[in-house]
Subunit: 281 residues, 2 copies
C-alpha cells in the first residue's frame, strides 16, 4: 500500500508522511479527526488534515509546554489545560509531584475518544486528570476556580481555536490565575506565522506584567522552528527558574533539560525583529 | 503550472516545494545540478534532487557555520572552505574584517557556474574569495598552506562527499590548521541521522583536543533541527567566545547573535544521549 498523508501550507510547501494503516476516521461537530499509523513516525493525529502530533516527536512539544512554566513557578499545585485533547501535556504536568489538580478542557470529545483508543502513550494521562468536554473560552469566563499555571494547548487560530488567540480570552485567563500565575500558549512558527506570533504577543503584553517567546524544534509541523508564548503576573522564566529542582527531578526528560530551558529563550535575530516590541522579557 | 519538487527521506517522509520556473538543469561528472525558482522559498539549488539551499533561509546555515568559529578564534585571518560551491559560507566569512584569505575548494565546477548564474545572493562572494575547483580531500592532503579556521560545507556522506566524514580527511585538516585552529563541519540532523552525527563526532574526538555539536533550525532540510560539529586544538566555543566582538560587530545578522551562539550548544536530552560520549565539551 502506497498511502501518504500530506499537509499543505499556502500552496507553497507540503509535508508528506507514509501511512501504513488508518486507525480512526470521524467527523465531529467541529472538525474531521483522523488517527493513522505511519511508516516512520509512529501513530499520528490529524484534525481537518492538519498534523497535531506524531508518537515520534510529541515529547518535544509536551515537555516544553509543561516543564518550562512548572519549573519557574515555585509550587505549582493547580494546572488548567485548554485544549490538549490528546493528553500529552497533562502527562507531563502530572509528572510534577507538587501538582494536585490537573484540569483539561477540550472542546472536542471525538478527539479525546480517538486518542483514548489509539494513542495511549499520551491519553493514558486522562486516568489521573479531570477531563471536561467543553469550550475553554466559556470555562475561563465562568469558573470560580483559581490556577497556578494555565496551558493553552490549541490548534492554529482557525475554527474553534480562533478565540483562544484573542484579548477577551486572555483577560479571563488573567482572572483565573493566582497572583503568581503563568500562562503558556502554543505560539506558531516564526517562519510562516510571524504576524500571528506578534499579534498573540501583543495581546499578552497588554494583559500580563511579563511576556516573552521561547522556541522548540518540532519534527512534524511546517517550519520546524516553533514557539510558545510565556506570560505571567511577575514570575520571570529565567530569573525565577528553579534550576536545582529541574536538575534533581526524577522525570525522564527526552528533550527538556536545564540548558535547553534557558537556550529556548534565545531568539534568532529575524524573529526578535519580527516581534517588534510585543514582548518585554 | 502546478510543478513541485520533492525530497524524500527513506520512503517515510517527503518535503515538497512548488516551483514556478526551472532556471538551470545540468549533469556534472559528480551529480545532477538543478536551480529552480519556487513560489514561496525563492531560488533553490538541488544536487541529485537533494535540497542544498533556498534563498528564503540560507542565511541560517551560512551565518551559523561561519560566525560561531570566527567569533571564537581571536584573530581569524586565513579561512579554508571545503565544498560551499554556492558561495554563502564565503560571503559570511568575508564579512569579518580580520579575514585576509578565504579559499573555497569545491569539487564540482557546475555547481559554482549554476550559482554564479542564478544565485548572486550567495555566489557574489566569489569576487573576493579564492575559488579552487578541485577535490577537498586531496587539497588538505597536499597543500603547504596553513589556516586558522576550516569549514567543511559538504553535502550528505554519499557520493563525492563521503570521504569528508572520514578520519584520514580530518587528520589532514588537523595538519593544515594553525596551533589555535578550529574546524566546523555540516553535522546532519539528530532526528534522522543520529548515527552519522555520532560517527563524525567520534572521528573528531580521536583527532582533535576539543569537540562538540551545536544546532540550528533549517527550514528546508528534513527534520528542521540540524547540527554543526565544532572541533579545535584547544579553543572552547563558549569560554573563548569573544562576545564583545560579536556584539560590536557591524555585520547585519539575520539569525546569529550572541545569545543564539551560546544557546546553540544546549543539546536536547535525546541528542546528547545519542552522541553517547563522542563529544567532550
Amino acid at each position: 500500500m502506497n498511502l501518504w498523508i500530506e499537509e499543505k501550507l499556502e500552496n507553497i510547501y507540503g509535508m508528506r508522511f507514509r501511512v501504513t494503516e488508518v486507525l480512526f476516521s470521524g467527523e465531529s461537530q467541529f472538525q474531521s479527526v483522523q488517527v493513522v499509523r505511519t511508516a516512520g513516525h509512529g501513530v499520528m493525529l490529524l484534525n481537518d488534515g492538519f498534523i497535531m502530533l506524531s508518537e515520534r516527536d510529541e515529547f518535544v512539544y509536551h515537555e516544553m509546554m509543561a516543564h518550562v512554566p512548572l519549573f519557574v513557578h515555585p509550587d505549582p499545585k493547580r494546572v488548567l489545560i485548554i485544549g490538549g485533547g490528546d493528553g500529552g501535556t497533562a502527562r507531563e504536568v502530572l509528572r510534577h509531584p507538587s501538582v494536585e489538580e490537573c484540569v483539561v478542557v477540550e472542546i472536542d470529545g471525538v478527539v479525546v475518544r480517538a486518542c483514548c483508543l489509539h494513542l495511549p502513550k499520551t491519553a493514558s494521562s486522562f486516568d489521573q486528570a479531570e477531563v471536561v468536554i467543553g469550550d475553554g473560552v466559556a470555562y475561563v469566563a465562568e469558573t470560580d476556580r483559581t490556577f497556578d499555571v494555565v496551558l493553552v494547548d490549541s490548534t492554529d487560530p482557525i475554527g474553534p481555536a480562533e478565540p483562544l488567540f484573542g484579548e477577551a480570552f486572555y483577560r479571563n485567563v488573567h482572572r483565573v490565575l493566582a497572583p503568581d500565575g503563568i500562562v503558556v500558549s502554543q505560539g506558531e512558527t516564526p517562519w510562516y506565522k510571524a504576524s500571528t506570533q506578534r499579534q498573540l504577543s501583543g495581546v499578552l503584553n497588554r494583559t500580563f506584567t511579563l511576556n516573552g517567546v521561547y522556541n522548540f524544534s518540532n519534527l512534524t509541523y511546517p517550519g520546524g522552528l516553533w514557539s510558545f508564548t510565556f506570560a505571567s503576573k511577575g514570575l520571570h522564566p529565567l530569573m525565577d527558574f528553579d534550576e536545582d529542582r529541574a536538575q534533581e527531578s526524577s522525570i525522564a526528560f527526552q528533550y527538556y533539560n536545564e540548558a535547553v530551558h534557558k537556550a529556548a529563550f534565545a531568539l534568532p535575530t529575524f524573529q526578535a525583529r519580527d516581534l517588534n516590541g510585543a514582548t518585554n522579557l
